[in-house]
């Protein structure tokens, strides 16, 4: 079965050029927000995607995730041209990590939508807070079947008791 995983990964290699082209095409849309990726940025993003997938033991069908993240985050007031490529790469890394952490209990589109909301409203552009505060809590809520899992204001039992001891 390991051979078959390799086959899947080799198919992934075949699509790398197409993916680079696809990423560069997104510049047409993001230009209105003053954001653009260079060819080198796009190649790096494609490499980073493969690396993140490998690190997280995941296999992706098609190349839609980068596009979806670019589409969702390009209008963010916390992203500038200087950190655009790095931020997209970090968001991609966080996305695959969270797919694992949430045990795939959340759809791609909903996860990206929540990431954008937390990033803008609750984290004020902090990737650190987004990853290790908001999304980790989201993952925990999903794993424990919390009904209102996306609500970050929900009373946090663990935190409450932790603080009460002081």
């Amino acid at each position: 079965m390991a051979d078959l995983t390799l086959s899947l990964l080799s198919l992934d290699t075949l699509t790398k050029n197409a993916l680079t082209e696809q990423i560069l095409k997104s510049n047409e849309y993001t230009a209105q927000y003053g954001l653009a990726l260079t060819y080198a940025d796009a190649v790096q993003l494609v490499e980073a995607r493969s690396e993140f997938l490998r690190e997280n033991g995941r296999i992706e069908i098609g190349n839609v995730t980068i596009d979806k993240i670019i589409d969702a985050f390009c209008d963010s007031s916390f992203i500038s041209q200087e950190d655009y490529a790095d931020t997209i790469a970090s968001l991609l890394e966080i996305f695959y990590d969270m797919k694992n952490e949430t045990l795939d209990l959340i759809a791609d589109d909903e996860l990206i939508e929540l990431m954008k909301y937390y990033f803008e409203i609750r984290c004020k552009g902090s990737l650190e807070q987004l990853h290790h505060r908001e999304l980790e809590k989201l993952a925990r809520n999903l794993r424990f079947n919390v009904v209102d899992y996306a609500n970050m204001d929900e009373f946090d039992t663990e935190l409450y008791f932790g603080e009460d001891e002081y």
């Binding site: 079965m1 995983t5 995941r58 069908i61 995730t65 795939d104």
Partner: protein, 472 residues
């Protein structure tokens, strides 16, 4: 595709085909025979990966474009399983390769999937027939497998994304079982064989079968209802031996005298005579029970071959009594020897409490006292022995209070099967035991080896018999 018709039919070697991984081994064989060119094989692989991609998206209901690698591998296995079912049912290997070359993977999958779904329906029908022919016995594994486990499996079986999966608590062992099969193929074969076994056993009066089962429980000093044994295995061994000594098998139990007589008779039989004797006995058995089902005879044959070897070994080692179920008096011939009867098992909390109290005991005697008063089941005792709450000499105080039969239960996993072991001895298996288990097992073996040789021999013999039962 360059060539859509098989022209080199004779060069496919059936012995190179692994029926448990049919499609992949067929691909490999077709490549070896150069029926499939390298570009064709690569194209097939690409097509297969495209099918996998589509199936993964179907699996996630298009809500996720990525999955864990193991999920993807499981889905791929399921796709191949469905394709296997279609291809292995082609009339010949050549036609299977032609289908592989001419049909796109999605079509192969769809055709296979239809067959898998038909197999599920057939298995449901078979289960019904097995339930209807269920024997009136109290074996828990037998009843649970037929009444619950297989039904639950069939209800939850996922023919699309996990067709290869055989997750089911099927505890009842068959007379002959190929566990390399998986998924619905395994279950269907299991039910077909169980139906045949029920058919065989139905020719023997239920009372006789139940007495044999009870005898088995008495032999191993266990509640027979909890033993994982195969019913036809017991019936056939005793019935065939009854026929070999020219006795009717109205009662399947064999007396000590009959056993000794048979052992003496068979000691004179040569290696070529024994299979013939056994074949004749089998023919007589099937004739007397009026069974003409050819499938049943075919099914039983591998067991008869295996029994022939067992019989020959038992006779040469004067151990025929260990192989058969003898009349009760045999097992109770040693008066005043305490026998282990399982009592109530402790809950996890109760067991933990006993372990904690053990740590407070000052010596082996106190620990043995506590175990004697609080522990009534061997499984609990084994847990306690491995719980690092008894040390070195303290074990001796406990072993001193145990009967041969209880010690034999502890030894069932310690029988030495290495080719160098000349006779039955005990040894620790470091590959399948934890550090804690090895610790007490070594002390137990030393304790028995330091004791009376006859007692050692008796305990090992009992343990070997119990181990044999669990292998059935």
């Amino acid at each position: 595709m360059e060539s859509n018709h098989m022209t080199k039919s004779s060069i496919l070697h059936p012995e190179n085909i692994d029926h448990h991984h049919f499609t992949l081994s067929l691909l490999k064989e077709a490549r070896r025979a150069e029926i499939l060119t390298v570009p064709q094989a690569e194209q097939l692989q690409v097509n297969l990966m495209v099918l996998l991609s589509q199936t993964i998206l179907h699996y996630t209901r298009n809500e996720s474009s990525s999955v864990k690698a193991e999920v993807a591998e499981g889905i791929l296995q399921s796709i191949l399983y469905n394709m296997d079912v279609y291809l292995m049912r082609r009339p010949s290997l050549e036609e299977a390769v032609t289908s592989l070359l001419n049909m796109p993977p999605p079509a192969l999958f769809d055709q296979g999937h239809e067959l898998v779904k038909q197999d599920v329906l057939l298995a449901k029908q078979l289960l019904k027939e097995v339930q209807e022919s269920k024997l009136p016995v109290s074996l828990i594994a037998y009843k649970d497998t037929i009444d619950k486990s297989i039904g639950v499996f069939l209800k939850n079986y996922d023919a699309q994304f996990a067709a290869y999966d055989t997750s089911a608590s099927i505890d009842y062992p068959l007379l002959s079982d190929d566990m390399q099969w998986t998924g619905i193929i395994y279950i269907k074969r299991y039910l077909e064989h169980l139906k045949l076994e029920n058919e065989l056993c139905s020719h023997f009066p239920p009372g006789t079968v139940n007495r044999l089962l009870e005898g088995c429980g008495q032999k191993y000093r266990m509640d027979y209802r909890e033993i994982l044994l195969n019913i036809p295995d017991l019936i056939l061994k005793n019935a065939l031996c009854k026929i070999l000594i020219g006795k009717p098998f109205t009662s399947l139990l064999i007396s000590k005298k009959e056993c000794a007589l048979l052992e003496k008779q068979l000691q004179n039989a040569t290696d070529t005579q024994l299979p013939i004797l056994l074949k004749n006995a089998t023919d007589i058995l099937f004739m007397q029970i009026n069974c003409t089902e050819p499938a049943l005879k075919l099914y039983v044959q591998p067991f008869i071959d295996m029994f022939c070897t067992l019989l020959s070994n038992s006779v040469s080692e004067h151990g025929l009594a260990d192989l058969l179920i003898l009349e009760n008096d045999m097992y109770f011939s040693q008066p005043n020897v305490p026998q282990y009867m399982a009592g109530r098992k402790l809950s996890d909390e109760q067991l933990q409490a006993v372990i904690e109290r053990m740590q407070e005991c000052k010596d082996g005697k106190a620990k043995a006292d506590l175990i004697q008063s609080a522990v009534h089941h061997m499984e609990d005792l084994i847990d306690i022995l491995s719980a690092y709450c008894i040390f070195d000499e303290e074990y001796i105080a406990l072993f001193d209070r145990m009967s041969d039969h209880e010690l034999a239960i502890l030894c069932t996993d310690l029988i030495d099967h290495s080719p160098l072991a000349k006779s039955q001895t005990l040894c620790v298996d470091p590959w399948h035991s934890s550090e804690n288990e090895i610790y007490w097992q070594k002390i137990l073996i030393q304790y028995l080896e330091d004791g009376e040789p006859d007692r050692y021999k008796n305990i090992v013999r009992l343990a070997a018999g119990m181990e044999e039962m669990t292998k059935v």
